[in-house]
Subunit: 246 residues, 2 copies
């Protein structure tokens, strides 16, 4: 090592932002927003601490940019899915579900999701972006397929049409479970996918029986989950003395 090969101190204005974004995302997903340290992010990006602040004014800004950088591709994928491909609605829905399971098990999507849900209260606009790009998008795609299936007589009228999020629920659960309980209690991937398909198509099949009524003979519809006039009680009392939010 005649020359200082360790720290050549290169100037690469173009490449920096991307590298820092990536390093930031890695630290944030590993530690969460609070515990992640700017200096670690800098080191991971192969850069000094001050350099990070040249490209992103604050830690918050870096966080939002990092998450957004992973949200953008989702939009592209969703757009593709929105274009109606050939095939029956049943085939499409089946493919959609299988694809969702693959995404949940093989990509870092759950990490992004957890981070957004975790830091949601602190970054409302990020929550909004995530909702728009992932959740609403997913619901829209599903709804489109369902409508098509109903029109074609493949699916019957079902409450699922009014709550498409139900169709995403098992994938979301798989994501959360994998992130938190995998080592205690592994996700039964095959059974999960099979059961997911059974549930969805069991509910949608035009020749399926209606779900059972309650013991009193009332349908689920009449179940009074929450009386219209009474909002759910607050879970915990509001703070007594308001303080500054950082």
């Amino acid at each position: 090592m005649t020359d200082g090969s360790a720290k050549p101190r290169r100037r690469r204005k173009e490449a920096r932002p991307g590298e820092i974004l990536e390093a930031g995302l890695a630290e944030f997903t590993e530690r969460g927003f609070g515990p992640a340290r700017m200096e670690d992010i800098a080191r991971r990006a192969g850069v000094a601490k001050g350099t990070v602040f040249r490209y992103f004014p604050t830690k918050e800004a870096l966080f939002e940019a990092a998450v957004q950088s992973r949200l953008a591709p989702v939009l592209a994928g969703a757009e593709a899915a929105l274009a109606d491909p050939p095939g029956t609605a049943t085939e499409m829905l089946r493919a959609l579900i299988i694809e969702a399971h693959r995404g949940v098990m093989d990509s870092d999507m759950p990490l992004i999701m957890r981070m957004v849900l975790t830091e949601g209260p602190r970054f409302p606009q990020l929550l909004e972006a995530y909702h728009r790009l992932s959740m609403a998008r997913g619901q829209e795609v599903i709804q489109r397929v369902l409508a098509r299936g109903v029109a074609a007589g493949e699916f019957r009228d079902s409450a699922l049409l009014r709550a498409p999020m139900l169709i995403m629920a098992p994938a979301l659960m798989a994501a959360m479970w994998r992130l938190n309980f995998e080592r205690l209690d592994p996700v039964p991937r095959q059974a999960l996918l099979e059961g997911h398909l059974e549930m969805v198509f069991g509910a949608l099949a035009s020749d399926a029986p209606r779900p059972p009524a309650g013991p009193d003979g009332s349908a689920a519809k009449e179940q009074d989950l929450s009386p219209p006039g009474s909002p759910a009680p607050r879970c915990l009392p509001p703070r007594s003395s308001p303080r500054r939010r950082s």
Copy 2:
């Protein structure tokens, strides 16, 4: 009010821990572990900062104790549910699901859940406790009911038997959705519950049709979600330089 009602500085060794626990839980659920400040917790409990440390040695200890204090009652509820009540398996499962929705929409259970998932990596033993008391317990109850239904000929053999978490998934999704997206896009409570029941009983009904096969005629079973030999690739590279964990 002859005595100094403003700051009497009472000594109440018995009542303190509970009050501090409650105050801590409130602050932690509102702000998360990191941002919550010990001094705020103390003020909320009507006590000086130092007093908190008399009962709990560290912030971490308080956090764990606070969450545990809410986990304990869950166990009691689960025990009750485990005792087989009368009625058909169908009725029981239906009641279980309706009860789950009520719990998710009306209690602070989702807040506890979010906190555990959020701080999971930092508090592995809390994750384990939550898994044991809530998730595993829920699965056990469901599995018991399913087994009973199968034995009675009410339910057919289904992949749900091998992935009972599927039956909890919609409630979990409702919880997360409500916590994060309620104001952007309210949870359709009625449709959610109805759809949930349709899905579950659609999959379990002994006279329901089998789910559709793929375009190539293969059943879901053959779908190769993840080749046995290849573990899912790491989502992000591990940290290069290990640092202390607080």
